[in-house]
């Protein structure tokens, strides 16, 4: 029996993610843990995350999960979600600048703050940060995780920073806010989603199902 390891480093809510993975995992086991050895034995790994990047990286390092993820990412399918996707890159501008796992070249940058109101009472469109809600994702290149997921599907986002991969080939999907940004990234056996597939209804479940059935090849 194959095992999907969900990395639990004490940040955020794994409830809905675990529930969604269970729903699509077939006969695979879902294993939620911070035990580096046990996680390294898993067939696939999921790195979730919400909150601030500094606290996230501090916890990953304290629990020695950072090296475990880097080691695992050499061969196993690895999925980062939200902050768990952002830390796949080299560094983030959040919290004054934090070095991350460096599995995908590039950095994580903030959406520009909305400009202050220029003309009171003018009913202009003002973009808010965090980018919160449903947005459409353009599939910028083919990948096994997109199988059966319609292009421009809606996914649920909530974040103030976004990944900016150095190599355009590492961007898997883009969303607009208002400028295009990397909503999904990929490199070899690694994928990352800025949005929350576990909060994105059927299409999100389909994406998770594709990941749990992916052998890390054909990307």
């Amino acid at each position: 029996m194959e095992t999907i390891g969900v990395i639990d480093y004490g940040m955020g809510n794994l409830h809905s993610l675990a529930k969604s993975l269970e729903r699509v995992a077939g006969n695979q086991r879902i294993f939620i843990s911070y035990d580096t050895k046990a996680l390294l034995e898993c067939d696939r790994l999921v790195l979730p995350g919400v909150g601030g990047v500094r606290a996230c990286m501090d916890e990953l390092r304290r629990l020695e999960l950072d090296q475990m993820v880097i080691e695992a990412a050499r061969k196993r399918p690895l999925l980062g979600i939200c902050l768990g996707m952002q830390v796949l890159l080299e560094r983030s501008d959040e919290n004054g600048g934090v070095n991350a796992l460096g599995l995908i070249p590039g950095s994580v940058v903030r959406f520009p703050d909305p400009p202050p109101e220029t003309e009171p009472g003018l009913h202009h469109e003002r973009l808010k940060v965090p980018h919160m809600g449903w947005n459409q994702v353009r599939q910028t290149r083919a990948h096994p995780v997109w199988a059966g997921v319609p292009d421009d599907s809606w996914f649920y986002f909530v974040h103030s920073y976004h990944a900016a991969p150095q190599n355009p080939a590492h961007t898997l999907g883009a969303a607009d806010y208002p400028q295009p940004f990397a909503a999904a990234v990929a490199r070899d056996n690694i994928v990352g989603f800025q949005f929350h597939p576990e909060k994105s209804q059927d299409v999100g479940l389909k994406l998770l199902a594709n990941f749990v059935n992916w052998n890390g090849e054909g990307a």
Binding site: K19, E117, R126, K128, P130, G133, W134, F157
Partner: protein
């Protein structure tokens, strides 16, 4: 681009969905899990649960309800009502809530919002502001009054003396990731949102604003976006009573060029 959100709100009392007028005269509107599932299927973008149970003895009932609903639906769930400590926030997130709404506790201790945002991430901290119009202190030269609102707590019973717009700014500085703005004058009246209140707050803060209080028609939802400048609209009775489905609401909005997820 990002879609505007339509959010059914479920007031929860002792494990049941209820609806009242101006925070009083509660009546039963169904089983939370059934209602939540129905809205999910209709295309609701999120759900909000407000626990209005007076007694803290009923807290475990709320956790069970949240757990049961989170198990059934795959859209974000916000839970508010009686959130006073970091332990409350953690318990709700563990039960399956994606965001928590803080109201009275933020007024009693604004730093609680900061603390919760630091600990759990600002993306899951919603500050709920219950605002009521008050007689303006200043009068414009042309004789027109600039509207003013005050923040109320305890389900709208207690005035705080805080100006709602200033309070909204303070809460965002403290770390609120979203504001849920309810007009106490309009809540339950079906007279439409207080769009002036929404516009004033939406223009004053960089974070998303959810409009609440007073929806009676689909036109009111539209006004929340077009006049109020809200990022999301919340409604209860028009959906609970079966007057409209969420899908009908979105159809109506889409016909008026509001970008919605369908």
């Amino acid at each position: 681009m990002l879609a505007k959100r339509v959010i059914p709100c479920l007031d929860i009392d002792a494990g049941r969905v209820v609806k009242g007028v101006k925070f009083e005269q509660l009546r039963d509107a169904g089983d939370p899990v059934e209602v939540a599932r129905r809205y999910d299927q209709q295309g609701a973008d999120e759900l909000v649960f407000l626990d209005i149970t007076a007694s803290s003895d009923e807290r475990p009932t709320l956790f069970k309800t949240v757990e049961a609903v989170a198990h059934e639906i795959y859209i974000p769930l916000t839970v508010g009502g009686g959130v006073r400590t970091s332990a409350d926030v953690r318990a709700l997130l563990s039960a399956g809530a994606d965001k928590v709404a803080i109201n009275t506790a933020a007024v009693l201790n604004p730093d609680f919002v900061h603390e919760a945002g630091q600990r759990f991430g600002v993306q899951c901290i919603v500050v709920a502001i219950d605002a009521k119009r008050v007689k303006p202190k200043t009068r414009k030269k042309d004789g027109n009054e600039t509207p003013q609102w005050q923040v109320f707590t305890h389900g709208g019973r207690k005035s705080t003396g805080l100006d709602a717009i200033e309070w909204a700014k303070t809460m965002v500085e403290k770390g609120a990731g979203e504001l849920l703005v309810t007009s106490m004058d309009r809540d339950g009246t079906k007279a439409g949102y207080d769009v002036e209140l929404l516009r004033a707050i939406s223009d004053a803060v960089p974070v998303p604003v959810v409009a609440s209080g007073g929806v009676g028609t689909l036109e009111h939802l539209y006004q929340g976006f077009s006049e109020g400048g809200a990022d999301a609209v919340l409604a209860a009775s028009i959906f609970h009573n079966g007057t409209y489905t969420v899908a009908q609401a979105k159809q109506y909005l889409a016909e008026r060029d509001v970008r919605v997820r369908r």
